[in-house]
């Protein structure tokens, strides 16, 4: 499989990258880890005339603390996330999620920025970012914009990112110390996208759920933030009947496609099963 021909550009700064992408318009694409884009190019589902490789921009790499938030550069790889002590301490759900993305080779190159900006509903990080209330930093010719992950996804491969813009970083408010978390993913095999997956972050106080947020992966055209399901759980002690109600509320907002991963009704049910498991595991990890 040979991709279509293109010109290759390797800018050294975000400003230079944004300038190139503005110049090329619809004929240009930013290249991050390449593990979604290059397969698409090999199938000629994508044929950009210009590739702007972000790998030479040092500013886009790394994980750092910034006040009560953690900022992750867009070119930070899944492998980097798994090895980050800062994330292991402050936002461990990112490590748990990274470990179930694709396979080791893909994780060495696959990036956070690519994962969240691509708009593929099968990507795992978008629902986790919605769950965590992350904000995306986006650079364009007119300057920087900050977009909440919860308002970023509009359809399959359609996001709030405009032509010529580059997602440069993800900013995540650090969840309360002692929070419970889990990312539960059902997949047919290593390397597969989720049949359904659920992300949960919650805190307990006096044996009751004080705060809760839920994200769902690959059960609609976009990742989903299950606001109503999380609201039902607040104030509860997460016993079986209330989990059942939250699961029903989460299932109600799904609209998966029927595909090789199973019929739509099955995938909706699996979203519910993943959520119930994630809630139980998150509870076991939370300091009451």
């Amino acid at each position: 499989m040979i991709p279509g021909a293109f010109n290759y550009h390797r800018p050294a700064s975000v400003a230079e990258a944004v300038g190139l992408l503005a110049e090329f318009g619809d004929d240009g694409r930013a290249l991050a880890g390449g593990h979604s884009l290059i397969p698409m190019m090999k199938l000629r589902l994508a044929m950009p005339a210009n590739l702007v490789d972000l790998a030479g921009i040092a500013d886009l790499k790394g994980v750092r603390s910034d006040g009560n938030a953690v900022v992750i550069g867009a070119m930070t790889t899944q492998h980097d996330l798994i090895g980050s002590d800062l994330l292991a301490t402050k936002i461990p759900i990112l490590r748990e999620t990274s470990l179930v993305i694709a396979d080791p080779q893909v994780r060495y190159l696959g990036t956070v920025g690519g994962n969240v900006a691509n708009g593929d509903p099968g990507n795992d990080m978008p629902a986790v970012m919605m769950c965590l209330g992350a904000t995306y930093h986006v650079a364009g010719k007119e300057g920087e914009r900050r977009l909440p992950a919860r308002q970023f996804y509009q359809g399959a491969y359609i996001t709030a990112l405009k032509t010529g813009e580059v997602l440069t970083a993800v900013r995540i408010p650090v969840p309360t110390a002692g929070h419970g978390y889990a990312y539960e993913k059902l997949k047919r095999k290593v390397g597969d996208y989720a049949t359904a997956a659920a992300a949960v972050v919650l805190t307990f106080k006096g044996g009751k759920v004080e705060d809760c947020s839920i994200g769902l992966t690959n059960v609609a055209d976009t990742p989903l933030w299950a606001e109503e399901a999380a609201r039902i759980l607040i104030g509860s002690s997460l016993d079986a009947p209330i989990i059942k109600r939250a699961v029903a509320a989460a299932e109600a907002i799904t609209s998966p496609a029927s595909d090789a991963r199973g019929p739509a009704a099955y995938r909706t049910k699996m979203a519910g099963v993943m959520l119930a498991r994630a809630l139980t595991r998150a509870k076991s990890r939370a300091g009451a």
């Binding site: 499989m1 040979i2 991709p3 279509g4 021909a5 293109f6 010109n7 290759y8 390797r10 290249l31 390449g34 593990h35 290059i38 397969p39 190019m41 090999k42 590739l51 490789d53 790998a55 492998h79 694709a102 396979d103 080791p104 080779q105 893909v106 060495y108 190159l109 290593v190 390397g191």
Partner: protein, 166 residues
Amino acid sequence: MAKSQVGMKVNGKVVEALVEPRMLLVHFLRDQLNITGPHIGCETSHCGACTVDLDGKSVKSCTMFAVQANGSDIRTIEGMANADGTLHALQEGFREMHGLQCGFCTPGMIMRAYRLLQENKNPTEEKIRYGISGNLCRCTGYQNIVRAIQFAAAKINGVPFREAAE
């Protein structure tokens, strides 16, 4: 489309060439450098037969352009044997433990296992299986590949290889 000048180190040797930007790294290695150890299996980033070691990472060379590898340090199966011609512990392990049948996946398996053992000198069986989960083998059922990697780890660590009880 303009060609790009690339330079990289492959198995310790500096190579320079002019490539079309769309040329995949695996095609560059195989067709331009005659390094045919990295195999083209699935071409869809699944099978891992094209795995090479690049700047301390295991990389599927079918999912990277040669221009992206500009300036990098690459190792393939051709660069694994010791300078005196004796086999690397992993190659020996695959031979001794029957870690291959048809052999198609072997260069990718060994290159992946090489990086795995660099990062974790004494992995458990579970870690080995997880570590090679991006490499497919259609012959062995993986059992002997896991043993081969355990054999190599023991040899590198200078301890006797003991097979786990069945």
